[in-house]
């Protein structure tokens, strides 16, 4: 009896140990944490490490080169240009999307049938892949068969080459991205706007404030935190622009639209497969993104304090 009891009680105490919330929590979290550690944290540290090596995809001639890769970046005109293109895209895309999304959210915040329908239409491009959107726009903007050049021609303008024109390619890509993604900003801002107490508007209405005054003096100050969030996520997203460029211009004409991620991709995953150098460019891009994200966050919380 005695011996039997100890083995079952051991089993039971083992179960009881892990069934306490303070221990069970680790079992609940273990799979996620392991995945995050293995496939995100370790690779992240890996990027930093690889930046200091000459390493190719076949792992031949691997050698430690110190800061050489970073030094090389500053004399690599194509790499530097790709950073400028990425910044240019971000400056075109982020403000446009945030402003359009916020205006759409404010205009459609009431829950009428028309507004709800419009909102669900505006969200449609969000669920599509940038690959398909890129395919559609390559055709819509095609100077030979596209609708947009055709319309411009009807209004007496010359038909621009859009994706094939060095000056128009990036704005075209930015426009396409805004068209696809403004529904995201609209949805997020809508939640923020709908959370504003109606009494604020009622008292403003009594004081005779116009809709525009209400928008700038009630809506905007109330949604600053969400606005800041949208600016930051958009910045981070735009700085990683890849899909839409890969599909439409592939970085052309003459690398004029090549983004930083695209440069990293083509350095690392096409001949001569320089994973080490590509990693150092990724590290530099990460630093730029982090600086942008932190400063936009600081600016927004400064604004938030100012408005309150």
């Amino acid at each position: 009896m005695e011996t039997l009891d100890t083995s079952t009680s051991k089993k039971r105490s083992f179960f009881q140990f892990w069934n306490q919330p303070k221990h069970a929590a680790y079992l609940f979290m273990a799979p996620s944490i392991i995945v995050l550690l293995l496939f995100m944290v370790i690779p992240l540290l890996g990027t930093l490490g690889l930046s200091f090596f000459n390493i190719n995809i076949f792992f031949t001639n691997t050698k430690f080169v110190g800061w050489d890769n970073f030094v090389r970046f500053f004399s690599d005109q194509r790499a530097i240009n790709s950073m400028w293109h990425t910044l240019y895209f971000t400056l075109l895309e982020t403000p446009t999307q945030v402003i359009l999304g916020t205006v759409a959210a404010a205009a459609l915040s009431q829950g009428s049938l028309f507004n709800r329908f419009t909102r669900s239409v505006f969200y449609v491009p969000v669920i599509c892949s940038l690959t398909s959107i890129g395919i559609i726009f390559s055709m819509l903007l095609d100077p030979n068969i596209g609708w947009i050049p055709y319309f411009l021609h009807q209004f007496g303008m010359s038909t621009p080459q859009f994706f094939r024109d060095a000056h128009l390619a990036m704005p075209s890509i930015a426009f396409m991205t805004v068209w696809k993604n403004f529904g995201v900003t609209m949805t997020i801002m809508l939640t923020a706007i709908q959370a504003i107490s109606p009494s604020l508007y009622e008292s403003a209405e009594m004081d005779g404030a116009t809709k525009r005054q209400q928008f700038f003096h009630i809506t905007i100050p109330q949604i600053i935190p969400s606005l800041g969030f949208c600016v930051m996520t958009n910045l981070i997203g735009s700085m990683q622009v890849f899909d839409q460029i890969y599909v439409t211009t592939a970085g052309g004409p003459e690398f004029k639209t090549e983004s930083a991620v695209q440069y990293i991709y083509s350095r690392g995953f096409s001949a001569p497969y320089e994973l080490g150098y590509a990693s150092s460019v990724a590290t530099i891009l990460f630093i730029i993104i982090a600086v942008l994200a932190v400063s936009s966050n600081m600016y927004m919380s400064h604004k938030e304090k100012q408005m309150k």
């Binding site: 069934n19 919330p21 303070k22 069970a24 929590a25 680790y26 609940f28 799979p31 996620s32 995050l36 496939f39 995100m40 370790i42 690779p43 992240l44 540290l45 890996g46 990027t47 490490g49 690889l50 759409a104 205009a107 459609l108 009431q110 419009t118 909102r119 669900s120 239409v121 505006f122 449609v124 669920i127 599509c128 892949s129 690959t131 398909s132 395919i135 559609i136 390559s138 055709m139 819509l140 068969i145 609708w147 055709y150 068209w179 995201v184 949805t187 997020i188 939640t191 969400s226 990683q240 890849f242 899909d243 890969y246 599909v247 990293i264 991709y265 994973l275 990724a282 990460f286 994200a293």
Partner: protein, 287 residues
């Protein structure tokens, strides 16, 4: 706005509001056309003969329609294989990620344990890390594990997302405190409480997270592009992107391919629209 207009008693003001409301609707209808036109045109054109697609000036409708493009795209690229890969990758990732994310979210929301704050900030930090920053070592890692060009290699690194954990945590935090106390008194163990009580309650959030994850992975390009190299393992976006690069001289089949790749999410969107919107709205939540 309209509701406020009707309550206004002054007639002139009322009229101005009405005009404004009509102008607003007209403007919105124009934007609706701008948003929807590309899709409608793509759908119609995908059924046109090549020579009717490349007319100038462009036409919306054509006199004759055909399935030719859909047959041709099927013949030129392994579309069935792409669809299968995308369904397996995006589908499995969705299911696994929803389960793992809610388990972690639940623990962070409703259990007291040592290091809780640490784990919370750990997860939150990973949410901010851009994929491109760690993609090269991830490729090397998956390569060394001999998981390149496998479903496991595509699915496992995406088996959990910080956003999903965050989203499920915010849901579970909001549930009443004594919920699990009653279940514990009834003798249910911790895992039983989670599966039998918490998960059924969380169904709307789980759905929102599911469509969010599904959309992201279904549409992703760079990630499958890096972790797959053979045509056999390509997903729809990766396969289409490469196909476009090769065959842009034929518009019809490319259009048909784009339609096929978008259709499944469109159909799901029609039936589960509120979950899509909810997922996006949650992504903007700050605590």
């Amino acid at each position: 706005m309209e509701a406020q207009a009707t309550t206004t008693k002054k007639n002139g003001y009322h009229k101005a509001q009405l005009v404004r409301s009509i102008l607003f609707k007209v403007l919105m209808l124009i934007v609706i056309v701008i948003v929807l036109f590309p899709f409608i045109w793509l759908l119609i054109s995908s059924f046109k003969f090549e020579k009717d697609i490349i007319t100038y000036p462009p036409h919306i409708f054509s006199s004759k329609y055909t399935f030719e493009n859909y047959i041709k795209v099927w013949d030129t690229i392994p579309l069935m294989q792409y669809i299968k890969n995308t369904v397996i990758f995006a589908g499995a990732t969705m299911i696994i990620s929803v389960v793992l994310d809610s388990m972690t979210g639940y623990a962070l929301a409703r259990m007291q344990f040592r290091g809780k704050t640490f784990f919370y900030y750990f997860v939150m930090t990973t949410m901010m890390i851009p994929f491109m920053v760690y993609m090269i070592p991830l490729f090397i890692e998956i390569n060394k594990l001999n998981m390149l060009d496998t479903y496991a290699g595509l699915i496992i690194p995406r088996a959990t997302t910080a956003f999903g954990i965050f989203m499920m945590r915010s849901y579970f935090v909001g549930l009443p405190r004594d919920l699990e106390e009653a279940a514990r008194i009834d003798g249910l163990n911790e895992f039983g409480i989670f599966t039998k009580i918490m998960m059924p309650l969380a169904k709307p959030s789980l759905m929102a997270l599911a469509v969010f994850t599904l959309t992201n992975n279904w549409n992703d390009l760079l990630y499958p592009l890096i972790l797959t190299s053979t045509s056999d393992m390509r997903t729809l976006p990766a396969g289409l992107a490469l196909f476009t690069g090769q065959h842009i001289s034929f518009y019809g089949p490319v259009m048909a391919g784009a339609v096929i790749s978008m259709l499944p999410l469109f159909v799901i969107y029609i039936f589960a629209q509120k979950y899509f919107v909810q997922g996006t709205a949650m992504s903007g939540m700050k605590e």
